[in-house]
Amino acid sequence: MACIKKKNQNNITRKIILVLLYTWTFVPFIPILIWSFSLRWNYPNLIPEFSLRAWKYVFTQKNIISSLFSSILISSVVTAISLAIGLPAAKALGMYKFKGKKLISTLVTLPAIVPLLAVAMGIQVVFIKLGLSDSIYGVVLIHLVPVMPYMIMNLSSVYEAYNPEFEQQARVLGANAFTTFYKITIPAILPGIIVASMFSFIVSWSQYLLTLIIGGASTKTLPLLLFAFLNSGDYAIGGAICIIFVLPALILLFGSPKYFAGTKSVRGGEV
């Protein structure tokens, strides 16, 4: 009985924490959502005047659409590049033992700890010399700095649990190295790749400072535009952009848990 009682209590605690978390996450969006559908919202009105002006504006203004696309483009390219670099790096860190592994792990996580402003100020000088400043290439490159730690840390934990004998098993069953990689390795670590990619996308997606410093005026991403509208005081349009801006994070929040399931499958069985 005591056991059941404790279990019930645990369940209730869990539910309370969940409700608090959801409140914490979503309540701030309520005023933003209301703002995005309003014409004005002046004191002492409790409810604003309803209007679709902001949404119409967002979906018709060329600069908003184009900044949305450049944001998607930059974050996608950054994610793809970081995946290409991160996969082998994470495999080495997760599966092999070698000298200096701890040092390299620390160095890899460093960009997530060091203030990015310091990094950006230093790199900007180099980028100007190389002609990478004020260009989309420069922005992609500088986004890789904060993105790589997330990509490599996420993937290496997948590789740590991954049993390399899967590949040996596939080989002796008749699969060559290439077939083994795309038929066995990739599907086995796919959930990890998806989670790591989503994280990387979000980190790149929400960069403001780095894009501003390196991209200058030439590369307008969504966060840059968002700041401009908020500064101008047009909360309705700012609110609408804000909703679009936060969408990928929400997808991550609701989409990823199923990929965080146990690691039994990548280990190859219980022993």
Binding site: V172, L173, G174, A175, L190
Partner: protein, 347 residues
């Protein structure tokens, strides 16, 4: 059916002080089941991986039917291997897992289906083809793994401690299943194990390995009755070694002199090997008298720890007559079951 020959097979990992496997020579006749037996870390799995092509030997050769396969990569060697873990591909269902090797060989879909179902029947999991591979019990997983390895009809079938992760009753059931299927398919098979009971019950022949070297190769009985060294006898459960001198075929020890027809003529220092069960209760002139120090009841038999001339020995007698602690047992050694191994100071 394929004959397997290993010639001077050696593997020296870079950085390791000693080779993991050294000058390993072995011939496995077509259709035989051989157990590689030895303590963990003795190089059994390394030999297995060199046969499969997953590891390249530092020196030596692997022959299938007298032809070297050393240049052939694992996927083309027609060898199949079952590992300690079942390693079922998690993104494929049971049928897809079993059919993997056949798909790699580009066989037709309907042919694959028939073969997969036949294999499932053989491992007693008929109707499991559409099950998720992540929803099986440990024993079922290992049976699917077995089926996946055998369905490609490999020239050599390798098993790397496939039963060690299973619980005792399941292990016995699987052991019998492996034996039955192996006989049925007549595939040359090597099974790695560190469990001597498993090796004895499963294999036609045993290859015993210590420290990367083959110690003795032969049918299971040989390891009980004719071990080459004291260490081998110990590995197979013998605890009684009496120092003595062999002249011709006669071994003289403090327990008496025994002329053993099974020995070759020699003059040397030896240990007389007395298996615990190589004794019988006797009151004759040649009988020995020993005091019981303690006993272990084992059901049909009783193991007695006895004191003989101030040294401890172990003997096993039938449990029909029970001796108590402090009793005197009068017994004699069964001459035809005694054996002698070279004396070695180091052991």
């Amino acid at each position: 059916m394929t004959k397997l020959q290993l010639i001077n097979l050696t593997k020296h990992y870079s950085g390791a002080p000693e080779p993991s496997v050294k000058d390993f020579n072995l011939t496995v006749e077509p259709g035989e089941l051989v157990a590689f037996l030895g303590p963990s870390g003795c190089g059994k799995t390394t030999v297995l991986k060199m046969i499969s092509g997953l590891l390249l030997p530092t020196e030596g050769d692997v022959l299938f039917n007298d032809e070297s396969v050393i240049e052939i990569p694992p996927e083309k060697r027609e060898v199949s291997m079952v590992f300690q873990k079942p390693l079922l591909f998690p993104h494929m269902n049971v049928g897809e897992n079993i059919g993997f090797g056949l798909r790699m060989r580009k066989q037709k879909k309907d042919e694959i289906k028939v073969k997969v179902n036949n294999m499932l029947e053989l491992v007693r999991l008929k109707g499991y083809a559409d099950r998720k591979s992540t929803e099986l019990s440990g024993g079922q997983e290992q049976r699917i793994s077995l089926a996946r390895g055998l369905v490609i009809e490999p020239r050599i079938f390798l098993l790397d401690e496939p039963l060690s992760a299973l619980d005792a009753s399941l292990r016995i059931e699987m052991r019998e299943l492996i034996r039955k299927i192996q006989r049925h398919m007549k595939v040359t098979t090597i099974c790695v194990t560190h469990d001597q009971e498993e090796a004895v019950m499963l294999a036609d022949k045993i290859a015993l390995m210590f420290d990367g070297k083959l110690q003795q190769y032969g049918v299971p009985e040989v390891f009980y009755e004719r071990p080459k060294t004291k260490r081998i006898a110990e590995f197979f459960g013998c605890t009684n070694f009496v120092k003595g001198t062999q002249k011709g075929r006669t071994v003289a020890t403090k327990l008496g002199a025994y002329t053993l027809d099974q020995l070759d003529d020699d003059n040397r220092e030896v240990y007389l090997v007395v298996r615990p069960e190589a004794v019988e209760v006797s009151d004759g002139a040649d009988s020995l008298k020993a005091k019981v120090k303690s006993r272990i009841f084992m059901g049909t038999h009783v193991r007695y720890i006895i004191d003989l001339f101030g040294k401890e020995y172990q003997i096993t007698l039938e449990s029909a007559t029970l001796y108590k602690e402090g009793d005197i047992i009068s017994f004699r050694l069964l001459k035809e079951r005694l054996w002698a191994v070279p004396y070695d100071d180091n052991i």
